[in-house]
C-alpha cells in the first residue's frame, strides 16, 4: 500500500499505583503477581481526565510532529472501551479540540483493546482510495476493573494518535501492509449498563490472545513473504508483561526485538492505547529503514497486524512532542485510598 504515518503522539497520565499497594488491600502476594504478570505499576488517570481528554492530548502531540493544517485531517476515529458517553461520540470532541471541524467525517470505534488499530486500517483504506487527505486514528482508554479483580493490577490509562497520509515527503514511516484475524470468542466482555468487565480467566490466554495474535502475525508474514528476521522490532498488545514475550518467542523473535516496545511493566495495560503506544515507543527510537511488526489484540476477538518501515523523515520530526519514555518517567505515586477516590469508587 502507498500510505504512511505522517505523525504520531502519545499521552500517559502522571499518576501511578504499585502492585504492592493493591496487593496489600486484597491480601495477595505482590511478588507472585509481579512475577506472574510481569508488572510493577500502572498509570491512573487524574480525576479530571477521561478518554476524551487523553485522546485530545495525544492528538495535539501528533499534530506537533507534522506542521499540517488540522483542517486537512478529513477523518477521525477514536477507538476505546471507555468512551465518556454511551451515546455521543468522543471523536467530535477531539475534532473540535484540534480545530479539524467541520469538514470531516468522524466516529467512535469499539473492539475491546484493538479499536484504535481498526481506526488505522480505516484511515489507510480511505487515504489509499483518495477519499481523504489525512486521517487520524486514536486508541485511548481509562480501563475499568472491579476492586479485587485480577485486572485491577493492570487496567491502566493512556492514549495514542496516528495521522495517516499518502507516502511522500512528509511521512516518517511507511505502512507496508496490514492483515487481520477475527473470530467470535467470548474471552472478555462487559454488558450494557454494567460498570466492570467480566473475563474468562485462563480462557483469555491460549484460545484468545495467542491464537489471534499469532495467526494475524503469521498471516501478514506470509502475505509479505517475510520472516521474523526481516524485522528490527516487534510490538504486541500487552494485557500484561508476559503474554507479548511468549508470543514473540513463539514467532521466533528475540528479546532484543521486543525490548523497545515493552511498556506494560511500567504503565500497565492501556487497552486501546497499548499496541499503539508501544509502536510509538519503538518509533521514538528506531532508525531509518528499520522494519517494525505491530500486532494488536481485541477480546471478542481479533488481531490486526501491521508492517511498518521507518523513513528518513522521522529524525527531524519525532522530537517535536513529548516521547513515550518522557511520560513513563514523569510519575507521581499514589496510595490505594487516593486511587479509589480518583476512580470514583469512593463517593461521599
Amino acid at each position: 500500500m502507498d500510505v504512511g504515518v505522517v505523525g504520531y503522539g502519545v499521552y500517559i497520565p502522571r499518576y501511578r499505583i504499585r502492585v504492592e499497594e493493591i496487593a496489600k488491600v486484597w491480601g495477595d502476594d505482590p511478588e507472585s503477581i509481579k512475577r506472574g504478570l510481569l508488572i510493577e505499576e500502572k498509570s491512573v488517570p487524574a480525576p479530571d481526565e477521561d478518554t476524551a481528554t487523553i485522546a485530545v492530548e495525544a492528538a495535539r502531540n501528533a499534530l506537533k510532529q507534522t506542521g499540517i493544517d488540522p483542517h486537512d485531517i478529513e477523518a477521525i476515529y477514536v477507538g476505546s472501551e471507555s468512551h465518556p458517553y454511551a451515546v455521543k461520540p468522543t471523536a467530535t470532541i477531539v475534532a473540535e479540540a484540534i480545530e479539524a471541524t467541520p469538514d470531516l467525517t468522524a466516529a467512535d470505534y469499539e473492539f475491546a483493546c484493538k479499536a484504535g488499530t481498526v481506526g488505522i486500517q480505516t484511515c489507510m483504506g480511505a487515504v489509499e482510495a483518495g477519499m481523504i487527505k489525512y486521517g487520524m486514528a486514536i486508541g485511548a482508554d481509562t480501563a475499568q476493573s472491579a476492586p479485587g479483580d485480577a485486572l485491577e493490577y493492570t487496567a491502566a490509562a493512556g492514549g495514542c494518535a496516528f495521522i495517516v497520509g499518502k507516502n511522500g515527503g512528509n511521512t516518517l514511516a511507511a505502512i507496508d501492509d496490514t492483515y487481520s484475524y477475527t473470530t467470535d470468542t467470548p474471552d472478555f466482555w462487559r454488558r450494557e449498563m454494567r460498570s466492570y468487565p467480566k473475563h474468562g480467566g485462563r480462557f483469555t490466554g491460549k484460545p484468545a490472545y495467542f491464537k489471534h495474535v499469532l495467526a494475524a502475525a503469521n498471516g501478514l508474514l506470509r502475505k509479505l513473504q517475510l520472516t521474523s528476521q526481516d524485522f528490527a522490532h516487534v510490538v504486541f498488545h500487552q494485557p500484561n508483561g508476559k503474554f507479548p514475550l511468549l508470543a514473540a518467542k513463539e514467532l521466533g523473535f528475540s528479546k532484543e526485538q521486543v525490548a523497545l516496545g515493552l511498556l506494560t511493566p511500567k504503565i500497565g495495560n492501556t487497552y486501546s492505547g497499548s499496541t499503539m503506544i508501544s509502536l510509538a515507543a519503538v518509533l521514538d527510537q528506531a532508525k531509518p529503514d528499520e522494519r517494525i511488526l505491530a500486532v494488536s489484540y481485541g477480546s471478542g476477538a481479533g488481531s490486526d497486524a501491521f508492517s511498518i518501515t521507518v523513513r528518513d523523515g522521522i529524525e527531524g520530526k519525532r522530537d517535536a512532542a513529548p516521547k513515550v519514555l518522557d511520560y513513563v518517567g514523569q510519575r507521581v505515586m499514589i496510595d490505594y485510598a487516593t486511587y479509589v477516590k480518583f476512580r470514583k469508587l469512593l463517593v461521599r
Binding site: A46, D50, A52, T53, A97, V332
Partner: protein, 130 residues
Amino acid sequence: MAVPRFWREIPNRYNLVGARCGNCNKVLFPPRYICPHCRRMGKLEPYRLKRRGKVLTYTVVHAAANGFEDQAPYVLAIVELEDGPRLTAQVTDCNTDEIKIGDEVEIVFRRMGEDGQDGVIYYGFKARRV
C-alpha cells in the same frame, strides 16, 4: 451551566480562541466585539492564543466550588499567557506544595464538570506546570 451557552463557548473553552485587534494588535481573551483600546477604530478578528504562559499569582482553594469538592485542596492561578491576556485557571496535576509564582504552564484540555450523572460533560482549559 446551560448547554447552549457551553456549546457557544466551545472555541474559547477548547482552543483559547480569543480576538486580536487589527488596529492596535492587542490580543483579547475572552473574545469581545469591540476593542477596549481603539473603540470604533478597532478591527477584531478571531485569534487562537498560544497555550503557554506563566503563573502571576495563585491561591490554594480549600472550600471548593460546586463540583470540585473531591479535588480540594486545589490550586487556582492567574496565568499570564504568552500572547498577553491573563486568565484564571485551575492548575491540574499539581500538589499544593508544588506551585510557585513564575512557574511556566501550558494550557491543557480537561474535564471541568458535568450536569449530574445524566447530563452533559463540560470540557475546558486548565493550566499544567511544564
